[in-house]
């Protein structure tokens, strides 16, 4: 039970820190809405067109928000030396890391889920489609967080890593993007989307079980420089 306690402490610590800087919760939210806003501005206001591309836009925005939010998942820990302490701690690293990623997801993705219906309405999607959009995001964003964390763990020791991170991680995000936006698209034309949802769920299971090991290994590597 000590391990569970340590897990919860880490989770609580990270959520506390995030709530203390309230912008850590509001900012991904604002970024998400700003990016969705950019498209109508860039593409033009035709409602028909916007409705067609809405699933794509929502998912691309979610993906970019996840990417940007991921960047400070381990960075401050690396810089202030707490990452060294984490790696050297007798607590199991992959578990501690899972707690950190979970906290990160709670703080950066959940608010985004709450905002999605509003944005979807502004693009003229109907209620059942919005439900599917939410479901795909609910299944997909944790995958983004875990996969993103691997990238961050690999690059955290580099000074200017924002872009490199994007390069490492975006290709891995693509399957999530494709199934996610495709599900919404399909739902919008009134067809069933079980297939896509199962696939997303499978990805989630895979990410939750395997990613922590990769993250832990990457962090050990990053710290040893």
């Amino acid at each position: 039970m000590h391990i569970a306690k340590a897990f919860l402490s880490v989770l609580k610590r990270d959520v506390t820190v995030a709530f203390r800087h309230r912008n850590e919760i509001f900012n991904p939210l604002l970024f998400f809405s700003l990016v969705t806003l950019l498209f109508p501005l860039g593409i033009g206001p035709s409602p028909k067109l916007l409705q067609t591309i809405a699933p794509g836009i929502l998912w691309v925005a979610a993906l970019l928000a996840a990417l940007l939010a991921a960047d400070n998942l381990f960075r401050s820990d690396y810089e202030d030396g707490t990452l060294e302490q984490l790696v050297l701690s007798p607590q199991p690293l992959s578990l501690m890391v899972t707690a950190k990623v979970l906290a990160h997801w709670l703080v950066s993705a959940v608010p985004l889920l709450l905002l999605t219906p509003l944005l979807a309405v502004s693009f003229g999607l109907d209620a059942p489609t919005i439900g599917v959009a939410l479901l795909t995001l609910l299944l997909g964003t944790p995958v983004l967080s875990f996969v993103g964390a691997i990238g961050v763990a690999l690059t955290v020791s580099l000074k200017r890593s924002g872009m490199l991170l994007a390069l490492l991680v975006l290709p891995l995000y693509v399957p999530v993007l494709i199934f996610g936006s495709n599900a919404i698209d399909t739902a919008a034309s009134g067809l069933p989307v079980n297939g896509q949802l199962y696939l997303l769920a499978a990805m989630l299971v895979l990410a939750v079980t395997l990613a922590p090991l990769a993250i832990a290994a990457a962090l050990k590597m990053s710290v040893s420089q």
Binding site: V17, D80, L88, P90
Partner: protein
């Protein structure tokens, strides 16, 4: 509880910093690593702590046995209050400490380190020396036998250095052991102090 180092060899880039390094550290002993700037002290300490892998040789230390590590950076979070930082240190120190984890012991630790009244402040508002004092609190919060400290006295004022030396002496007296580097004069004396001069 002893640390054995055999045939240790470390390189940085293509440069070999030291090789065939061997020593033994017993309970109650202190190893002072000395050497000029860039001689490889930090590299050695990181290797001993397990943060780096040696190019050859071995560091033999009982598996799973926790250590206390303090590097050039403090390992404290600017966004948690001093007290919350101490609580995290306890969690990280391992299972034992979770049992006797309580706010009171944290407060008395802060007092001992000369940070009384700063428990609810954030370390980002601390001066350089106050941050180092907070980092040194982990010496008091962990029950680990082995301390590995890289210039622990950096940024400390005279009272702070005395405080640290008292802690160290106490730890050694209780059978703990420690490895440290320092450009400061270290006030401790006795046969339990070994010196290791790195001269690249």
């Amino acid at each position: 509880m002893r640390l054995d180092v055999v045939g240790l060899h470390c390189t940085r880039g293509y440069r070999s910093l030291f090789s065939e390094l061997a020593f033994t550290l017993e309970a109650g002993q202190l190893l002072l690593v000395e050497g000029h700037n860039g001689s490889g002290k930090t590299t050695l300490l990181k290797t001993l702590a397990g943060l780096r892998e040696p190019d050859a040789g071995q560091v033999l230390w009982e598996q799973q046995q926790p250590i206390v590590w303090l590097g050039h950076s403090n390992g404290i979070k600017d966004d948690l209050t001093a007290l919350e930082n101490l609580q995290m240190m306890q969690v990280m120190a391992g299972a034992d400490s979770l049992l006797r984890r309580d706010a009171k012991s944290c407060i008395s630790t802060l007092e001992r380190m000369g940070l009384a009244g700063n428990g609810h402040r954030f370390p980002r508002h601390f001066s350089a020396g106050m941050k180092r004092r907070l980092a040194l609190c982990r010496l008091l919060l962990s029950s680990a036998c082995l301390w590995i400290l890289d210039e622990p006295q950096a940024a400390l004022d005279k009272a702070g250095i005395q405080l640290f030396e008292a802690l160290l002496a106490e730890h050694l007296a209780q059978g703990g052991s420690a490895i440290m580097t320092s450009h400061h004069h270290v006030g401790l004396q006795g046969s339990h102090i070994q010196r290791l001069l790195l001269a690249a």
